[in-house]
Amino acid sequence: MSLATNIADAHKTLQAAAGITIKYSRGDRNVSIKAVPGSTEFVQTSGEGYMETVESRDFVFVASELNFGGKAVLPERGDTITEVVNGEEFTYPVLSNGSRYFKYSDPFRQIIRVYTKQT
């Protein structure tokens, strides 16, 4: 079995154990994806005499599941991810974590981690 297949299988196991359904939206198009929530943390920044924190949340899923009308796309600014927690809907815009809006989580570009923040 190849390393790529091993990684895909490992992610399927993780997805089955800890996956949640999210709605990934771009404009009026959206797609349901089984994603694994990644790190959730509060990020602080400071400026001229002030501080600000924001909740940052990552979602990890199979890259090919992000497609609109069968055409695979990559995350970009302006997209949103919606999840339901205890009956309450939370929508997170896809936002840069300081560099890009996502990164590949494996060397074969099968799994991606998308960065969002609650704004």
Partner: protein
């Protein structure tokens, strides 16, 4: 107990701003601990806080007091691939122009400055328009 002059100035700025009608609905308040949470920002907010002061000789009998008051304007920006900040920047300009040459608590407006028209990092990473101005007021006494 009387207030420090810079507190009176900051308070007067907040009161003055809240009395203005600008192109956006907003609230202005004095906040000694400007520690924001982005999730709470759902409309334009202006935070005013004392930032510093300088005292120097003005004459044999009087001193010149310079008071630095910071104001931070924060506005949520809609998630978009190419954000448009025209309204936010106009609002920011209106805020500063409303303060031009207006006395605050017996001190005179001397100027306002900002090193950047908006914080690029916060726009990119938090969908937020944020600009911080440093205002200077002076009095001779």
């Amino acid at each position: 107990m009387p207030n420090a002059t810079e507190v009176d100035v900051a308070n007067a700025i907040a009161v003055h701003l809240n009395a203005q009608t600008l192109n956006m609905t907003f609230t202005a308040k004095l906040d000694y601990l400007p520690d924001f949470e982005r999730e709470d920002l759902d409309s334009a907010e202006i935070t005013v806080f004392p930032a510093g002061k300088q005292i120097s000789f003005a004459s044999r009998s009087d001193n010149q007091y310079l008071y630095n008051i910071n104001i931070v304007i924060r506005i949520p920006v809609k998630a978009a691939k190419e954000p448009d900040l025209a309204d936010e920047m106009y609002f920011s300009e209106q805020v500063i122009e409303s303060l031009d040459r207006i006395q605050m608590s017996n001190t005179s407006f001397r100027g306002a400055e900002t090193s950047q028209s908006y914080d690029l990092e916060l726009l990119n990473e938090r969908n937020e328009f944020l600009v911080a101005y440093s205002l200077t007021y002076f009095e001779i006494k």
